[in-house]
């Protein structure tokens, strides 16, 4: 490849990336501007940053939403891993007779839209006093995340060369020790990426949160949407809330981007 051609491709790619990322950058910068600076067009990249918006946001009860988001995301991810990883392991290593059917069934549950279950879920939660509770919300997220765990982890387990398992068995590692000492370390990157993706999906989930939470268990996406309708004119304050809401999933996403492709493509492709 000629040097000049390589330089042109680099410049084009960087331009595309900057244009693509620009809306997020503007929001991020707005969070550190005054309201007047935020609506000034075109957005200036040079300004005197202020933490005023963040002080406002942190003093107006963002913490309860943040806490709810954290608990629902982390809780549901841990439980989804606890029940999804063993299933994925069994499907990949033991290759049971109807393993393909079972695996495919897990995938088909992702085809069912959230609205397909919302009416009975709402009624059940109402009758069981689970509306507006974190464990109710987490429960729904477990149902949402477990198929993703099975789906992704199965392809990571399948990648373990059979000879590794066989030779460890010859060395006398069995059952729990085999899984804990030999197999889990081998799939650690995959396990890590799967956990991060589940965290991101639950953290960003909006439909269930909107329908079954109210004040006690409301998560960050709910805060953002209610804020938008009530105080949509306060751009810099909105931007500060938005930045707090997207920072964790964006960082997790950046970390997990490589494994994401591999795990999500159902083993049909290698990323």
């Amino acid at each position: 490849m000629k040097r000049s051609k390589k330089a042109v491709i680099g410049i084009v790619a960087w331009l595309v990336a900057i244009v693509y990322f620009y809306p997020i950058l503007v929001m991020f910068l707005n969070g550190f501007k005054t309201e007047q600076q935020a609506v000034h067009m075109p957005p200036s990249l040079v300004f005197h940053p202020t933490l005023h918006n963040y002080q406002l946001v942190f003093s107006s009860g963002v913490f309860s939403y943040l806490g709810n988001s954290l608990i629902a995301a982390i809780g549901s991810t841990i439980i989804a891993l606890a029940i999804g990883v063993p299933a994925a392991y069994a499907l990949a290593i033991y290759k049971p007779k109807h393993g393909d059917d079972i695996f495919f069934w897990f995938i088909t549950t992702k085809i069912l839209p959230s609205v397909g279950v919302i009416v009975p879920v709402y009624i059940m939660f109402r009758d069981l006093n689970m509306l507006d509770t974190l464990y109710g919300l987490s429960l729904l997220y477990i149902g949402m995340n477990t198929p993703i765990v099975v789906w992704m982890m199965r392809s990571f387990f399948t990648d373990i060369p059979y000879s590794v398992i066989e030779s460890s068995q010859v060395d006398g590692a069995h059952g729990f020790a085999l899984i804990w000492r030999i197999i889990l370390p081998l799939v650690r990157p995959g396990l890590f990426a799967t956990s991060l993706l589940c965290l991101v999906f639950s953290w960003n989930e909006f439909f269930f949160a909107l329908n079954i939470t109210d004040t006690h268990a409301a998560t960050l996406p709910i805060l953002v949407s209610s804020f938008m309708t009530s105080e949509g004119l306060f751009w810099s304050k909105l931007s500060a809330i938005g930045t707090i809401a997207v920072l964790p999933p964006v960082i997790f996403g950046w970390i997990a981007q490589k494994q994401l492709v591999r795990g999500l493509s159902m083993g049909a492709v290698k990323g």
Partner: protein, 313 residues
Amino acid sequence: MENIQSRMTTGRGRRVTTRASHQHPKQRYMRLILPGMIVVGVLTQIPFLGTLYLSFFRWNLLRPSQGIKFIGFSNFARELSSMQFYHATLNTVVITLFTLVICLGIGMLLALLLNQPFWGRGIVRSLIITPFFVMSTVSGIIWKDIIFDPSFGLFAWAMRHIGMHPVAVAQSDPMILIILVLSWRWIPFFMLILLAGLQSFPEELHESGQLDGANGIQRFFSLVIPHLMRYMEVAIFLGLIFILQTFGTIYVTTQGGPGLASTNLSYLVYRTQVQNYHYGLASSVSVLFVVLTVVGLSFLFKNIRNRFGETLR
């Protein structure tokens, strides 16, 4: 009992040497699989059966005097003969198709670009995939306010700059706004999967193509595209199941309006249940939506099972 041996064999046809255990091996692995199946079944399949059941009842919370009454297929008849259902179905199809085509096209171009070597490729890739991890309510703020606000938005500023009158995009072209926001979010995902496909393309194929005298474009269409089919199918399948049920983006940008102009099926279910308290009717819309989804997917992926099944062996 007759084929425990064969069941315990792995894909490579060798037998696992397990210690003699008192347990039936089949029970051993089912013990690992069942908890996941039960939890997912209870949380997804059973509520759906509940939706199906409710769809045959008239149950309107605003009219408690009517009670809960079995009315057979009346809810379905009512929805299927109503304009709003057709509107919502049409909008769902339009949003999904346009978004998928845009994501495939631009995702492919970006994947080709990022497949070239240049300085800072990892950073560029990270910047481009960022929107995929941004929650729908925040993308709503960014696009509805910061970019398309009729008085303070970037777009309005640009329009005024070239001497045109700014328009309120959320009112005048709500569907375009939604497709734009969704595309912005899903293009990176398509790019990621297609990039993985390009990077797994065997180099010797390129060389043999060159020897046969095929130019770059010919090589792309005759060699690269067939190789990428697999990857495209995966991206389309995954993108489809999420884009079909778009809700948050619509909720924060247009509220399904003006009128029904940008109401899709997810939003229609939400409105019927939450704003009109018509539980039976909302359930019947859900059921129709699920049926349409499954029919649509089966139509697109006649052999999805075999497609993905091949790799399961």
